[in-house]
């Protein structure tokens, strides 16, 4: 690219009232850089970008390949599935067990996700359907929830807390992971702390300032799909109860796309600090959440993470493709340039 500077021509000033002022600005002669897109500029530019992208792409691919992922579908649509019987009738507290084995060490920390497909958490009306003020712990909104929550605003004349479709449809399958060591089941400890966003846990969601928490919920109903009220989500840990329950927070942060996974637990403790060792495992699922009606699926995912998040081949490939395209383009430009012999303005 060529730099071009204009010089203002100075004329002697007369005593003329109407004479426009002779400045670089008013005469439109400001020093200007002219981004002429010529071959001479673009060839090295493309080459440089291309090479850089290929480099990044290789790095991304390697990183992505190094991530281990284990996905297990437990929807139970197929008869062979251990959870098949849970889909049959509307029996409550159906428990099914999923067995799997890991060949090599699954490096820690291992993240344990549950995943749903064909689930539109990003639907507009669904997304609107909650009451911020309730969730920030404002008790006055417990009595009269926002109309946004319709049709999950009231039940039997009583206000629902937390109201709205998002809270109402909270994912309620629970999981327990056992490693089978010598035929015996050993519980793999799950770490449920800090799986939600810091801002959600500390700022956006607050429990009302009541002790016991239950008192704040007088004259309110629990969401219709819920089996227990909000103040009983985790009675063992006050800092994980009510609206600041981690699972609740994770659920309330709506997924961007209809096929998503959400963090359920992390495996960071005890013998499993360095990951899941090779061996046989059994996942005990308390199967509650209905997805078959809308042709959705449920799955669990074990994954470890890198600096770029979970496993993703796409980005690495994209970088490689774009990078090599840039290189190809610069070669094309070079050929064209040689053919037309564009005189470079110097």
């Amino acid at each position: 690219m060529n730099m071009r500077f204009y010089r203002t021509t100075m004329k002697e000033e007369g005593n003329s009232a109407n004479r426009p002022s002779n400045t670089a600005f008013t005469q439109q002669r400001l020093p200007a850089w002219q981004p002429m897109l010529s071959a001479g500029v673009v060839i090295p530019g493309f080459l440089l970008i291309g090479l850089a992208f290929i480099g990044i792409g290789v790095g991304l691919l390697i990183t992505s390949r190094s991530i281990q992922v284990l996905e297990l579908d437990y929807t139970g649509t197929e008869t062979s599935s251990p959870c098949y019987q849970c889909t049959m009738s509307n029996q409550s507290n159906c428990v099914c067990k999923l067995s799997f084995s890991i060949g090599t060490l699954f490096k820690g920390p291992v993240f344990f996700y549950y995943g749903l497909t064909n689930y539109f958490q990003n639907q507009r009306k669904y997304g609107v359907s909650k009451d911020f003020n309730q969730l920030i712990g404002d008790v006055s909104y417990f009595k009269s929830p926002s109309s946004d929550c319709q049709p999950y605003q009231r039940v039997n004349g009583k206000p629902i807390v937390p109201c709205g479709a998002i809270a109402n449809s909270m994912f309620n399958d629970t999981f327990k992971l056992y490693q089978i060591i010598n035929g015996k089941e050993e519980l793999v400890p799950f770490d449920g702390k800090g799986i939600a966003w810091w801002t959600d846990y500390n700022i956006k969601y607050r429990n009302p300032d009541y002790t016991p928490l239950k008192n704040a919920f007088n004259d309110t109903e629990k969401p219709v799909f819920w089996t227990k009220p909000a103040y009983e989500l985790d009675t063992s840990d006050a800092s994980n109860n009510g609206f600041i329950n981690q699972d609740f927070l994770v659920w309330m942060r709506r997924a961007a796309l209809p096929n998503f996974r959400k963090l359920y637990r992390r495996i960071t403790e005890g013998n499993y600090k360095d990951g899941l060792p090779a061996g046989n495992y059994s996942l005990e699922i308390s199967y509650n959440y209905p997805v078959i009606s809308f042709e959705g699926t449920k799955k669990v995912t074990f994954s470890n993470v890198s600096w770029m998040g979970g496993q993703n081949e796409f980005l690495g490939i994209a970088y490689l493709v774009i990078g090599s395209m840039c290189v190809v383009m610069s070669v094309v430009m070079l050929i064209v340039y040689a053919k037309f012999r564009f005189p470079e303005e110097d």
Binding site: Y6, K11, S16, R19, P20, S21, T26, Q27, Q28, L30, P31, W33, Q34, P35, M36, I49, F53, I56, Y119, F120, N122, Q123, R124, Y126, G127, V128, F132, N133, I136, P151, A165, W197, T199, D200, K204, R254, A255, A256, L257, P258, N259, F260, R261, L263, F294, G296, M308, N312, L315, A318, I322, M325, C326, M329, M333, V336, Y337, F342, P343, E345
Partner: protein
């Protein structure tokens, strides 16, 4: 042709209803009531008052369809079932747009308010009946019927009828510069009302009633009468009226009664403010917006249908909110929701942005130093604010000739009297030398300094002298003085032709020395012709004489004593008037000249002008030797004479008076009824001026009726266009053979000379006279008075009356006046033609003159073929047109065959068509062939065209060829053309401001057109066109991101971007860079554009819009799907998903701008940086501090978290690069394959101009050898006649 003003009626007059005015302190209650009903003198040009602003401004803004659309959208968002954002979010855009516009309006209105207040608070002397005296009073308190006293140099506060002037002759001088820009003084006359003109005027004694027409905007017309208490009615006309905002000059005190005040004054009614035109681009823009609307509807329909299908296929999902709603209804609601969500697709801020950008462009045009004229101290005026980009698409330029291409500064060149040509060789030489000067001198522009336009009027004391220069003293500016001193006389002065001078001198010498040999060679008849000719030159005009040395404007200076032999001369003239072909007239005057003089003055009504009794008896007849003029000139006796200042309404008048003066026929003084004329060898003579029939463009002539100072006969002197005068001049029929022969010989000779003058490029005028019988005059006089005093159709009556008088004229001779080309006119025309603009010249001049000028300004080259079209009837015209078309076709084929020499490509056809033929050609059935012919021609000259024809031609071309037209002119006769054209340009030159006032842009000189069109026009067009494209691109690109998301959220209308960010993205974060781009971008440097006018013709293909839209689609796809695939299946939440998309979009949109920009200055850099910074600042602040706001797209915690994730940057980088790479690639590929148009053109052009210069040199040499007359205008560029017509 003549350049006097003519009234141009913009509005056909309405039914004449009358207004009655009387003294405001009259007891008459009815009159008082009537007077009260008239508007006061307070002016208010503001649109709004403090209270009315909000409703009125809102109401006005709501008239725009775009605003209504956005209000509809805002309202839609308040409907709960379809609402997409929180209601207040969707109010933001419309409120922002409305308030920006409102602020702009307030600002403009405040400026108007401020200037109104200044004007309203000016003081003037108003007569108060209570105090019986004049008291100071604000302008705004002046009412109709008030008496206002004004002193010298005061500005007139309202339109008034002049009742009293301190001038003993009852005249007053005003300068109308504020009104129409004319700086010459105009004379106004006290209403002729008998009783008390001598005594001091007292309003108390005024009991007359004025009846006049209702307010109108015609500056040159005032019709009415004043009815005195006695019942006598005296007609009023425009010379009795002092118009608001003119300035009193050269008169101590005047008193007038206000007839129109405030907004009803002519000045205010003419002040229409800036013009609003819709530019072509804006019209195209509306079409593109309609496409966007269509696109929006399609996208919303897709979403609606998609949502309906999606809902239908869902079977009772747990995330369903209201399952009862039928899919069809839900789809219907979604349609409207999507309209709200995707509203950004219609660029809401585009209209406001365009307005702002145009203001910026106007600012830069207005401030361009290259379009500043030092001599006039004037710069370009932009009167229309919204058609800047039309300047960049002009295809046809229609130009006036006089004053536009030429200077309109006339210098007498040569004349022919009695059929004898006086070539004035010396004069020609001097003019030529003068013309050459600038090339030797330091600066080229110095020669063109117009002293006339820069004269400053100053008043010393009450006596009101005009201390500065006037037309005849084109003062040399500092650097030029040395050169000028070598010339014997000032520039406008004329070097007399020796032969003519000899003959003229023989007039006096023959009387002094009757035996002189000269007398024998010059017949008495010829001598009377010559005398009459110069007398006509001296008196047949409206020139105002003033002298800086005298307190009064009229010079009553040392009158030359009439000779002792005056009696003899008189006898000679009387004897000569018995000439066989002039009508016999009995000598009316038996008394001595002195008693004749006194009798004249007694008859004069004012009677106040008394010329000092001649005391000096020494004859001042110039030495009969031809060389003597130089000595005489140097002698002290001439000094006082040199100080005479002539103020003429048109430059050719002044030129003729100066010419006469060179022959010692000097106009020494003028009063309304008398002229003091000095004749060589006779001395000062008073001439009784009976009538002036002023110039108008229909008659194309003016006449004066005088009593001849020597013979005492009533004589009509007429001066006018040769075609008219030649027709009016009597034909020698049925008369005695020898005189008829002589007369037809004179006619023939004169016609021959006229043709030669015209070929030489001179402006020709004919001078004729007629001797009136007393009875004849009396009859005519009655009709004339009747016409003058009538209110209705006065113009027609006056015209008819004048035509009755101007018949059977005797042709005296003709004059040729040089009108120099303005500087750089040939270069400008050449540049315009190279830019692909066709230049037509529409002139009232003769065909020969027009062709010559065309030659001089390179419109017509030696290689071009000239086609002339002069027909007498329609059939001939039709045949001729067809014939010419065939000829042109043959010619063009011939040219295209021998195309091997690139420089011969300039061969073209020039059509010269005269007014009469043009009339036929403009008729319905011949139009198409005329257009076809003219389209094939390189240029067209329309000669002898009337103002109406000019506008018709422009209209025809504009409407039928569907091209962008520009009309440029300087005079009132160009007004209609200027108004009809898409872009009207006025030259703010010599001829008043009417053209300027009706124009869109006013430039000081013609050559400014070059930069205005080629540089500013080109820039403005490219800037605006690109900015608009960019706006569409930006909106389509951004909105599509939301559209793609609909495919993944069940078409439910949800968004992954915070709604505030969504709305403000277009309004704030990315709105300023395009504005800067639209104001500052320079696709090509100014000097390159000027050097290579071909660059002007960059054509815009309509497909560029669709290419842009396609690119926007591509970019939005990349910008959405790369993050999509990168994040699909992960635990990303909605807003975190939107964050990299939005950030990439910001970068893509800003960098796209950088790619599109041709220049980047620090301003660009700063604005780009601030735009990006404002986005990040906003989202970061929003996601830190906004806890419960903007549900459901609450950003809390999103952005800081994203910005700390490496993945975010990885995604943004690849997205931005991928989105922009195709554009960069194709751009650079294009630049490489089509190496900058500029460079190749450069080389081609160099060769062409080189060969042209060589050709011109060769040609010049040839012509120098053949010794053809070389035009002083443009030495070396005027080919001989045979060449032109070949």
């Amino acid at each position: 042709m003549h350049s006097l003003k003519l009234p141009f009626h913009i509005h056909r007059e309405r039914l004449p209803r009358k207004r009655i005015v009387g003294p405001s302190f009259a007891e008459d209650e009815d009159l008082k009531k009537v007077l009260k009903s008239y508007q006061s003198n307070k002016i208010r040009t503001t649109k709004y008052s403090f209270l009315s602003f909000l409703p009125k401004n809102l109401f006005e803004q709501l008239h725009r369809i775009a605003n209504i659309y956005f209000i509809f959208l805002a309202a839609l968002n308040f409907v709960p079932v379809v609402e997409a954002f929180q209601p207040e979010v969707s109010l933001v855009p419309i409120v922002l747009v409305l308030s920006v516009t409102a602020i702009k309006d307030v600002f403009e209105d405040f400026r108007r308010f401020h200037s109104d207040r200044l004007v309203n608070r000016q003081l003037c002397d108003l007569y108060s009946s209570a105090q019986k005296d004049y008291v100071d009073c604000c302008w705004k308190d002046v009412r109709v019927g008030d008496f206002v006293r004004l002193s010298c140099n005061e500005i007139i506060p309202a339109d008034m009828v002049l009742l009293y002037s301190s001038d003993p002759r009852g005249v007053c001088y005003i300068e109308t510069a504020n009104l129409d820009g004319e700086t010459n003084l105009k004379q106004r006359q006290v209403v002729g009302f008998a009783p008390q003109s001598d005594s001091q005027f007292s309003p108390e004694n005024f009991h007359s009633r004025i009846e006049c027409e209702n307010p109108n905007n015609d500056l040159n017309r005032f019709r009415g009468f004043i009815e005195h208490a006695s019942g006598v009615r005296v007609g009023l006309h425009s010379s009795n009226v002092l118009l608001r905002s003119c300035t009193i000059r050269n008169t101590e005190t005047v008193i007038g009664i206000v007839v129109y005040a405030g907004h009803e004054t002519k000045a205010m009614m003419n002040n229409s403010g800036p013009r609003y035109k819709r530019s072509l681009l804006e019209r195209r823009l509306n079409r593109d917006i309609l496409w966007c609307v269509a696109l929006l509807i399609v996208m919303c329909l897709i979403a609606a249908v998609g949502h309906g299908l999606w809902l239908k296929n869902l079977k009772d999902p747990i995330f369903q909110v209201d399952g009862e709603m039928s899919p069809a209804l839900a789809a219907f609601y979604v349609f409207w929701t999507m309209i709200i969500v995707l509203q950004v697709l219609i660029p809401i801020s585009l209209y406001v942005s365009i307005e702002i950008v145009k203001l910026g462009q106007i600012y830069f045009i207005h401030n361009d130093l290259d379009m500043y004229n030092e001599e006039q101290d004037s710069r370009i005026q932009c009167r229309a604010l919204n058609i800047t980009e039309d300047l960049g698409q002009i295809q046809y330029v229609f130009s006036d000739k006089t004053g536009t291409l030429t200077e309109n500064k006339m210098v007498f060149r040569r004349c022919s009297i009695f059929g004898v040509e006086y070539p004035h060789e010396e004069n020609a030489r001097r003019l030529a030398v003068y013309e050459e000067d600038p090339n030797r001198g330091a600066s080229r522009t110095v020669t063109l300094k117009s002293a006339c336009s820069r004269k400053s009027l100053t008043c010393r004391s009450l006596s009101c002298n005009r201390s500065s220069v006037s037309l005849h003293t084109l003062t040399a500016e500092s650097g030029e003085e040395d050169q000028l001193s070598s010339h014997p006389q000032a520039k406008t002065d004329v070097v007399p032709d020796p032969a003519l001078e000899k003959k003229l001198n023989s007039l006096c010498s023959s009387l002094l020395h009757l035996s002189d040999g000269l007398f024998k060679t010059t017949s008495n008849l010829e001598l009377t012709y010559i005398t009459d000719f110069f007398l006509a030159l001296t008196i047949c005009n409206t020139v105002v004489v003033s002298s800086p040395g005298q307190p009064r404007h009229v010079v009553s200076g040392p009158a030359r004593t009439p000779l002792k032999s005056l009696e003899e001369i008189k006898v000679m003239f009387q004897r000569l008037s018995f000439s066989p072909f002039t009508t016999m007239s009995t000598p009316q005057m038996k008394s001595s000249p002195r008693s004749f003089t006194s009798r004249l003055f007694i008859r004069g009504k004012s009677g106040s002008l008394t010329f000092p009794t001649p005391t000096n008896n020494s004859p001042s007849c110039p030495n009969p030797e031809p060389e003597s003029y130089e000595e005489t000139n140097g002698s002290s006796g001439e000094d006082s004479e040199d100080e005479l200042l002539y103020e003429a309404e048109s430059p050719d008048e002044a030129a003729l008076v100066h010419a006469a003066r060179a022959y010692h026929c000097t106009l020494r003084a003028r009063s309304p009824e008398n002229l003091l004329v000095e004749l060589p060898g006779i001395g000062s003579l008073p001439v009784r001026l009976l009538h002036v029939l002023p110039f108008d463009s229909n008659r194309k002539r003016m006449s004066v009726v005088v009593r001849h100072p020597l013979t005492g006969e009533l004589v009509v002197y007429t001066k006018g266009a040769d075609s008219v005068i030649m027709d009016l001049a009597e034909r020698p029929k049925g008369r005695k053979a020898p005189s008829a022969e002589l007369y037809s010989h004179i006619r023939e000779q004169t016609q021959k000379h006229l043709d030669a003058y015209a070929r030489e490029g001179l402006r020709t005028l004919c001078i004729a006279k007629k001797v009136l019988e007393e009875e004849e005059y009396d009859v005519w006089m009655k009709r004339q008075l009747l016409a003058e005093s009538s209110i209705e159709n006065r113009e027609e009556l006056l015209l008819e009356s004048a035509q009755r008088l101007e018949t059977n004229l005797t042709l005296l001779g003709s004059t040729g006046i040089v009108d120099r080309l303005q500087e750089e006119v040939p270069e400008t025309i050449e540049a315009l033609q190279r830019a692909g603009i066709k230049v037509w010249v529409l002139t009232g001049d003769k065909q020969e003159t027009a062709i010559n000028i065309a030659n001089a300004c390179k419109l017509l080259r030696s290689s071009d073929q000239l086609l002339t079209a002069n027909c007498d009837n329609k059939d001939a015209c039709a045949a001729l047109l067809n014939e010419l078309i065939v000829e042109v076709q043959c010619g063009q084929e011939g040219v295209s065959e021998q195309r091997e020499d690139p420089s011969s490509g300039s061969t073209g056809f020039i059509l010269a068509i005269d007014g009469r033929t043009l009339d036929w050609a403009l008729q319905e059935d011949l139009r198409s062939s005329f257009l076809e012919l003219s389209r094939k021609c390189k240029a067209v000259l329309c000669c002898r065209s009337t103002p109406l024809q000019k506008s018709k031609v422009v209209q025809l071309v504009r409407d039928h060829l569907r091209v962008m037209t520009l009309a440029v002119g300087d005079g009132a006769n160009d007004v209609s053309m200027i108004q009809v054209a898409d872009v009207g340009i006025g030259i703010s030159g010599q001829e008043g401001m009417q053209a300027v006032m009706s124009s869109d842009f006013a430039i000081p000189r013609f050559h400014h057109l070059r930069k205005l069109l080629l540089v500013h026009g080109h820039w403005c067009y490219h800037r605006l066109a690109n900015m608009i494209l960019y706006f569409f691109y930006k909106n389509v690109m951004y909105v599509n991101l939301l559209f793609w998301y609909q495919f993944f959220c069940g078409f439910s209308g949800s968004v992954m971007i915070n709604s505030w960010v969504l709305i403000l993205f277009n309004l704030l974060f990315t709105s300023v860079p395009p504005l800067i781009y639209g104001v500052l971008d320079q696709d090509t440097a100014a000097d390159a554009l000027e050097e290579h006018p071909e660059l002007y013709q960059a054509v815009y293909v309509p497909s560029i819009f669709w290419i842009t839209i396609l690119d926007a689609f591509y970019q939005s796809c990349i910008c959405f799907f790369i993050p999509y695939f990168a994040l699909a299946g992960s635990d990303v939440d909605g807003l975190s998903f939107g964050s990299p998309i939005n950030t990439s979009a910001l970068f893509i949109i800003l960098l796209h701008q950088v790619i599109e920009s041709h220049t980047l200055t620090w301003i660009h850099a700063l604005v780009l940086f601030l735009s990006a910074a404002s986005y990040f600042a906003f989202v970061l602040l929003f996601s830190t501090f906004c806890i419960v706001c903007s549900h459901p797209t609450n950003l809390l915690g999103v952005e800081p978290r994203q910005l700390s994730t490496p993945l975010f940057y990885v995604i943004c980088a690849v997205t931005t690069v991928t989105a922009l790479i195709p554009r960069i690639f194709f751009r650079s590929l294009f630049n490489t394959v089509h190496p900058s148009a500029l460079l190749t053109k450069d080389q081609r052009q160099e060769a062409a101009s080189e060969s042209y210069r060589r050709r011109m040199q060769r040609w010049n040499q040839n012509h120098a050898r053949t010794g053809l007359p070389v035009c002083a205008d443009n030495p070396g560029l005027v080919p001989g006649q045979e060449e032109v017509l070949s």
